[in-house]
């Protein structure tokens, strides 16, 4: 063992209780930092996963980002158009099959059409407003989690009756309809049909479960009075992170507005950035506070060991060597604290991961915990680095002492 390590270890070991307090401080800091990072990243990952899983990666809608160009504008540079009343455009994406085929030819992933209308569902004298979505039961499973959310019936049940409808679980409760019931669907377009309930789904998100119903595309088109058109094409791409680029290309090629999930949830994603800034600040503060304990013990040791320092320096040990002894003691505390902190962090994560959370808006879930070696590495590295910084200043001060001053005083 090297001389410096030997002396440092002896000092630390012979002050077991004080050292333990400092180590416990660092360990607590590291442990809670790891827990906090795991929880924050876990909830973020979980949220993203839900976003990516539950929602389409790209939604192509019949809107356009800019007002259509007028022929005059294209010919004359000086044209300015005011108060234009554009030609009334029929809503919807034309030729959905051709567009789907074109997109499928280059996008790795799946695509499904939908027609959306607002409607009043009526049963046993109760009226409830809901979004009625026309979907394709063959394509739908590839882009959404709906098949997994079916409580009764399957998507294919939509083919069973002529006007079949699948209701959200809470929606069905609200109007008191069960599978097999025949309900009335009335839209703002003035269309009214009677539909047979063939299934129920439960997504776990209250707003969805109490205000959504699914029918076949064909039925949806009848309800929306737009035969042959769809409102939306939803894409699920193999690489969710590439959605933004793919959406841009689709928009250029088709002219329809294509919104990636990132764009749709930009506000959320920037909220995550803010959350992370807050997290790093708090974690940094925790570790900083932990390093105060290290500073405390190192300066205590250097005071208690003033005589030993004088002995070593009078024998001719270089200043750098003496300084290194105390910095190394800080490193030892940092390392020990880091190791214990890893264990503590791991146990805290295990503990938190097993807690069940119940909320009225969501089904019971466990706290999402991200297991990342990076958290452990960063927390320990910061702990050791701040310990070194905390130990350096008392160590430097101690090593600078002129031995003769202490030796004179000792006589």
């Amino acid at each position: 063992m090297s001389l410096v390590l030997d002396i440092a270890w002896t000092h630390v070991r012979s002050r077991a209780r004080q050292t333990l307090v400092a180590v416990a401080g660092v360990a607590t800091g590291v442990g809670f930092s790891i827990m906090m990072a795991a929880l924050m990243e876990g909830s973020q990952d979980d949220f993203m996963r839900q976003l990516i899983d539950a929602l389409p990666h790209i939604a192509i809608s019949d809107e356009r980002r800019q007002a259509p160009h007028q022929p005059a504008e294209e010919v004359y540079a000086a044209t300015k158009i005011y108060g234009l009343t554009p030609e009334e455009r029929r809503r919807g994406i034309k030729n959905p099959l051709a567009i789907m085929a074109a997109i499928e030819s280059w996008v790795p992933g799946a695509i499904a059409p939908s027609v959306k209308t607002q409607a009043i569902l009526r049963y046993a004298g109760r009226d409830v407003g809901a979004s009625v979505l026309g979907i394709d039961p063959h394509r739908e499973p590839k882009v959404s989690a709906l098949p997994k959310q079916m409580r009764q019936g399957t998507l294919a049940s939509l083919f069973r009756a002529s006007n079949a409808i699948i209701l959200g679980s809470r929606l069905a409760e609200k109007i008191g309809a069960r599978v097999g019931a025949s309900i009335t669907v009335q839209t703002g377009e003035g269309v009214q049909i009677s539909a047979q309930v063939v299934g129920l789904f439960h997504s776990g998100v209250r707003q969805v479960d109490e205000a959504t119903a699914y029918v076949l595309v064909k039925t949806g088109q009848v309800l929306a009075r737009q035969t042959g058109l769809v409102n939306e094409l939803r894409l699920r791409v193999a690489d969710a992170m590439a959605a933004r680029e793919i959406a841009g290309r689709i928009e250029r090629e088709t002219g329809y507005k294509a919104v990636s999930w990132q764009e749709a949830h930009e506000d959320l994603l920037s909220a995550f950035t803010i959350r992370n800034v807050i997290m790093f600040t708090v974690v940094g503060a925790i570790l900083l506070v932990a390093s105060f304990g290290t500073y405390n013990i190192i300066s205590t040791i250097t005071h208690e060991k003033a005589r030993d320092i004088a002995i070593m320096k009078s024998l001719g040990l270089p200043e750098a060597t003496v300084r290194r002894i105390f910095v190394l003691e800080a490193v030892l505390i940092g390392l020990l604290g880091g190791l214990l902190g890893w264990m503590l962090g791991y146990l805290l994560c295990l503990g938190l991961g097993s807690v069940e959370i119940k909320s009225p808006f969501m089904d019971a879930t466990r706290l999402p915990i991200a297991w990342s070696p990076l958290h452990y590495a960063i927390a320990a590295a910061v702990a050791v680095a701040s310990s070194v910084a905390a130990g350096y200043f008392p160590a430097r001060k101690a090593a600078r002492v002129h031995p003769v001053e202490i030796i004179r005083g000792a006589t």
């Binding site: 009078s314 001719g316 002129h402 003769v404």
Partner: protein, 236 residues
């Protein structure tokens, strides 16, 4: 051949509201194989002079030379290295590291210098301690040793890196007469058998009389410097 340690017009004044003169105008040359006593009344500056000769303190004026090399302009690092490799110290109070055994204390300067391999250091430390009659105490910590034993460990540590000179500040001051005699015999032997130079501060005039040369200080200045007549062959 240049003197082992030489002080040239050395003055040391402690700065302060009332500056204290510790020693002034010291001229002293110490050669090889000398056994020198520094005597004088309490507060006359004996310890102060020893610290200056041992490069622990810096003169305000004048120069201390080690083997002809001026030391005033050395940086702290070089002075530390000179102490480590060429000067051995024994203080009035034992000044051993309390958490280390006698053996480890003796090994400390060797490990800091790093010239020997670990087993060689261990062996040399054992031999040194054994030569001072401490073979049964190598693994004891200072608090498990008597005052005399501690002081002998301190002498062994001062010899660790084979310095040509040992500077001892009242090495027997805190010991009873038996231990005191033991330590004195060891120092005597270092001069006679190992050819070292020993400079020892003492206020015990009887001990001083048994040494080869006596330098007397009064109020920070040398008032007498006398040598025994050369007794036998081999002494210069």
């Amino acid at each position: 051949m240049s003197a082992l340690i030489e002080a040239r017009r050395v003055t040391r004044i402690l700065p302060g509201v009332v500056p204290t003169t510790l020693v002034h105008d010291i001229d002293l040359a110490i050669g090889d194989n000398e056994f020198l006593a520094i005597t004088g009344p309490s507060g006359s500056g004996k310890s102060s002079l020893l610290y200056l000769l041992g490069l622990l303190d810096l003169p305000t004026e004048g120069e201390v030379l080690v083997r002809g090399t001026a030391t005033a302009r050395m940086d702290e690092e070089e002075r530390a290295f000179t102490r480590l490799s060429g000067l051995g110290f024994v203080f009035q109070f034992h000044f051993l590291l309390p958490e280390f055994t006698a053996l480890e204390n003796v090994m400390l300067p060797m490990r800091a210098l790093g010239r020997l391999a670990e087993p060689a250091m261990r062996q040399r430390s054992r031999d040194l301690l054994a030569s001072f009659g401490l073979e049964d105490h190598v693994d004891k910590r200072p608090d498990q040793l008597s005052g005399g034993q501690r002081q002998r460990v301190a002498v062994a540590r001062a010899l660790a890196n084979e310095p040509p000179v040992i500077l001892a500040d009242e090495p027997t001051g805190s010991l009873d007469s038996k231990s005191s005699e033991q330590v004195f015999e060891i120092l005597r032997d270092l001069v006679d058998a190992r050819g070292k130079t020993v400079v020892a501060v003492t206020h015990d005039l009887e001990l001083a009389a048994r040494m080869d040369r006596r330098v007397q200080l009064v109020d920070g200045a040398i008032v007498a410097d006398e040598r025994n007549p050369v007794p036998a062959v081999g002494r210069s």
